[in-house]
């Protein structure tokens, strides 16, 4: 419980700092503050999809259903954070570009990514046999993740985009004010902690539900 309370205080401090300590961004004005929420959400989407893919590979090698479940939970969390990144990006787009959705390469690639992972859940819900579902969705998860680096890192840099870039590729550094960098990194750490907490909660909840199911099955069999 200690680290959860610490996370609560940490994120509250990050939110306050993002408005009261961090200066307005040069060129983006007050709307630039969204970077503290938008980028960590996008980062966590990529991280969760990566962990989902690693668990899927683990399942294909070892065949443990536990790994299939971990892959699914991570894909779910990845999609939640991907949606947060999309919504915060659209809010920023309304302020900076005049409308929520402009089919900018960044927006298009994140929409494609969301569709790819929505198909993952559709696939899972379409197969009733547990082992078959786990095997098929593990293969799909690996294939789906292959698109992530292209859609998140390559496509928006290959095509002309209005989306601001944090990383200065020529100098290999962050294009950010020092105060902003501190708040941004603190937010990145806080969001990662939030993700870890959410993952643990969902995994524990599903374990309990599983046990309840087994208990019910055992009781039904003993009644027969």
């Amino acid at each position: 419980m200690f680290w959860q309370i610490l996370l609560g205080i940490w994120m509250t401090a990050v939110i306050l700092a993002s408005f009261l300590y961090m200066p307005a961004t040069q060129g983006l004005g007050q709307t630039g503050r969204i970077i503290v929420y938008h980028v960590p959400a996008a980062w966590l989407a990529v991280l969760a999809y990566l962990i989902s893919m690693l668990n899927a590979v683990g399942y294909l090698r070892r065949g443990e259903l536990r790994l299939d479940r971990q892959a699914r939970i991570n894909a779910e969390l990845g999609t939640v954070f991907c949606l947060v990144a999309t919504v915060t990006g659209a809010i920023w787009s309304r302020a900076a570009w005049g409308w929520y959705w402009n089919w900018d390469p960044r927006q298009t690639s994140i929409a494609v990514l969301l569709l790819i992972y929505t198909a993952y859940f559709v696939l899972r819900s379409a197969v009733s046999d547990q082992a078959r579902r786990a095997r098929l969705s593990a293969v799909y998860s690996v294939l789906a993740f292959l698109t992530v680096p292209f859609l998140v890192f390559v496509v928006p840099r290959v095509y002309a985009s209005l989306h601001p870039d944090l990383i200065n590729l020529e100098q290999g550094s962050f294009d950010m004010d020092r105060k902003m960098l501190v708040v941004f990194l603190a937010s990145l750490a806080g969001f990662t902690g939030l993700y870890a907490w959410m993952y643990k909660l969902v995994a524990r909840l599903e374990n309990l539900l599983d046990k309840l199911e087994q208990q019910k099955r055992g009781e039904a069999e003993s009644e027969r």
Binding site: I15, F19, L20, L201, L208
Partner: protein, 39 residues
């Protein structure tokens, strides 16, 4: 600090605190359920 910015700060804080309290409640309920399971 403009009124608009204060409004955005307030909405962000309320959203975060709402999510945080919800997760904390879930954590406590899970702990209780796990404890019962052990018994």
């Amino acid at each position: 600090m403009s009124d608009e910015l204060i409004f955005v700060l307030a909405v962000t804080l309320i959203t975060w605190l709402g999510l945080f309290l919800y997760l904390l409640r879930l954590e406590l309920k899970l702990k209780e359920a796990e404890r019962r399971e052990e018994i």
